[in-house]
């Protein structure tokens, strides 16, 4: 059976620290756009920590929800792309081929989660940060769409290594940057087609829910709802 990559996000564990956001920026060569462009609504974070306040002051409660591409099985972004830049891989990932993208931005409109980001300008890194780019990830030019890939470069590298060493891939071998950097272990990544994997187990928990499930996108990310009241 082909693998089906998925993730579980335990909202009870998430502290909203933002380490996942930073790690994602570093791993995936995501440019920081600066305060002016961010003020125009052009900040790019493939994963973002949404903050929702509930209740009236002083009985106010803050909730965090890390939101990244939900890697939908019925992804609205895919059929609308005229050039197949946004397409489904055999392992169920919503891939984005930057070189095919002509920038219609239709995929981003169709995405109910608003997790697709557009390069409004050619990316720039203040010196010496331009020396720390990840060589495994291409830098996107102006006019293309980009989004969370589940760190497909890490998936492919680890799968390749296991194959070269002629061993089976173990659950937890692959860690996208956000998962690796999450000190609270709120994020769990793995193969949903492997019933033994931790992500499969967590996804079946009764407190698991999909984000905007009624839109019918069949996301592969499960949010474990918050139980604690603190």
């Amino acid at each position: 059976m082909p693998r089906k990559w998925g993730m579980a996000v335990d909202l009870d564990r998430c502290t909203g620290c933002g380490a996942c956001v930073t790690a994602c920026h570093a791993e995936n060569n995501i440019p920081t756009v600066g305060p002016e462009q961010a003020g125009r609504g052009r900040a790019m974070h493939w994963i973002r920590v949404e903050r929702y306040w509930e209740g009236e002051f002083p009985e106010v409660q803050l909730k965090f929800r890390p939101v990244m591409c939900q890697q939908c099985d019925a992804a609205p972004c895919e059929p609308v792309c005229p050039t197949y830049a946004s397409h489904h891989t055999a392992e169920g990932l919503n891939a984005q081929v930057y070189n095919r993208c002509i920038g219609t931005r239709y995929c981003a409109n169709a995405c109910p989660y608003n997790v697709r980001y557009f390069d409004f300008f050619n990316p720039e890194w203040p010196k010496p940060l331009h020396l720390q780019l990840n060589p495994d990830v291409s830098v996107r030019e102006v006019g293309v769409m980009e989004k969370c890939t589940f760190c497909v470069q890490r998936i492919n590298a680890t799968v390749g290594e296991a194959k070269a060493e002629k061993r089976e891939l173990k659950d937890g071998d692959i860690k996208p940057a956000c998962v690796q950097s999450c000190s609270a272990r709120a994020l769990v990544f793995g193969d949903l087609n492997d019933p033994e994997s931790e992500v499969s187990r967590l996804s079946k928990e009764p407190r698991g829910a999909k984000l905007l499930e009624d839109v019918g996108t069949l996301p592969k990310i499960t949010y474990l709802s918050r139980q604690s009241q603190t």
């Binding site: 609504g41 792309c81 005229p82 002509i102 920038g103 409109n109 109910p112």
Partner: protein, 451 residues
């Protein structure tokens, strides 16, 4: 009608082509400057990056897509109106059809630019076209944008043919009345037209076929444009009524555009004897009907959404109804319904001026309608954390203005090169029994023997 008045008709209608005043050149220069500025702005946007626009996350479509839908809508002036009027053989159509068909062709050309202008990488727009390439990938035929490409190219081809066919006898008329390079050019365009009975029959049947064929094409084009929205799971976009709603709106704005164009031509080219108040009166009635139809669609859409009470849709509903978009929304209702309805439903006010005032309102209102379909939905999609705002920036405003100038420029140049009112159709209309052939041959001889 005598030959003398026939000759006057020909002279009147060909006069704009023969006499060129400084006013024409001033107008061309003025409009040309704006169009050039618009093109320059587009290149500036490409050079600096798409971020020069006001587009942001989550409002990824805004002014450009609004303009796209608006201009494709305007393009429904010509073909639909003139095809319907031809098919039902409405006699008063004769001086109107060509004015209308030209709008179609130019508005389509302008509208079709916007999907390219709005691309992040416009230099790769040809990847939408299915052609065998080294990339070995076809376009994604599931994407409504690819449907758009086919719909618009089909409609453009069809409406160019629809415009050109009835121009052939007029080209021949000009050919016979000119010398030098003009004679040569119009001779080529006339495709060897001699006015024989056989040629007239062929022209008549070709036009009949085109008038029938263009109707489903015109309806499908704006339906497919509406599919750009209704195929995406976005609140207030994902609607089954968008197809007919868009087609009705397109015809509505098209008629308004036509009335304004006709009134301008009447004034500038002194066509008072050919474009009568009755033409405006009749088109005004059509506009009134479309205004009622538009009001019905909006009412049906709003009421259904309100009763459905779906949370994500209600956000968009309220933000347009009484939130930050409410001033635009109610301006739209006034421009599209209140003004045209109160002016056009009274016979006394259905004059040329009245029709033009109502049409200006409709153009503003229909532009706002498209804007209010595109932007509020995108800025208020499901997750409140990701909501956003949109404000246009100078680049978008300049390009939008320049498209209106481009329309006027193309129209001005066209009216200079081709009689904007079909000479032969008007003659046929005024001698319904003689029907053409004899008359045309005699007149042809008249012009060739007494130049």
């Amino acid at each position: 009608m005598s030959q003398a008045s026939n000759r006057r008709l020909t002279e009147d209608l060909l006069r704009p082509m023969q006499q060129t005043s400084w006013r024409f050149w001033t107008l061309v220069l003025f409009l040309g400057t704006i169009v050039a500025a618009g093109l320059g702005t587009w290149f500036y946007q490409m050079y600096m990056g798409f971020g020069m626009t006001g587009i942001n996350n989550p409002v990824y479509w805004a002014f450009y897509i609004t303009n796209f839908v608006f201009w494709i809508g305007i393009s429904h002036a010509g073909t639909l109106i003139s095809a319907i009027l031809r098919l039902v053989n409405a006699g008063w159509r004769r001086p109107v059809t060509r004015c209308a068909e030209v709008i179609t062709v130019f508005a389509l050309m302008i509208g079709a630019m916007f999907p390219i202008i709005h691309l992040g990488r416009p230099w790769l727009f040809f990847w939408l076209i299915p052609y065998p390439s080294s990339r070995l990938i076809w376009p994604n035929f599931r994407s409504p944008l690819v449907w758009d490409f086919f719909a618009i190219t089909t409609y453009l081809t069809g409406s160019v043919l629809f415009l050109l066919l009835p121009m052939i006898p007029d080209f021949a008329l000009i050919r016979d009345r000119t010398t030098g390079w003009r004679h040569w050019v119009y001779g080529k365009l006339a495709l060897g037209w001699q006015g024989t009975t056989k040629q007239w029959h062929r022209l008549e049947s070709a036009m009949q076929i085109m008038a029938i064929a263009i109707l489903p094409v015109a309806v499908s084009v704006h339906t497919i444009v509406s599919f750009d929205f209704s195929m995406a799971p976005v609140p207030m976009w994902h609607s089954t009524m968008f197809g007919p709603y868009f087609v009705a709106g397109a015809i509505f704005s098209g008629i308004a555009g036509l009335i304004i164009a006709m009134a301008t031509l009447r004034k500038l080219l002194h066509l008072e004897d050919y474009l009568h108040p009755v033409h405006f009166h009749n088109l005004g009635k059509l506009l009134l009907m479309m205004s009622l139809l538009w009001g019905y669609f909006v009412f049906a859409e709003r009421l259904t959404v309100w009763y459905g009470n779906e949370p994500s849709e209600m956000e968009v509903f309220w933000v347009t109804q009484r939130g930050s978009f409410a001033p635009l929304y109610w301006t739209m209702v006034v421009c599209n319904f209140v003004i045209p309805f109160s002016i056009l439903s009274l016979k006394k006010l259905r004059t040329i001026t009245g029709c033009v005032v109502a049409s200006c309102g409709v153009l503003v209102g229909m532009w706002l309608e498209r804007f209010l379909i595109v932007v509020p939905s995108l800025s208020h999609k499901y997750l409140p954390y990701a909501w956003g705002h949109y404000r246009p920036r100078p680049v978008e405003i300049m390009i939008t203005i320049s498209t209106f100038a481009a329309m006027m420029l193309l129209y001005t140049l066209f009216a200079k090169l081709v009689p904007i009112i079909s000479v032969w159709e008007l003659k046929v209309g005024e001698h319904p029994f003689l029907l053409n052939v004899e008359e045309d041959r005699r007149e042809h001889e008249l012009w060739t023997t007494n130049p």
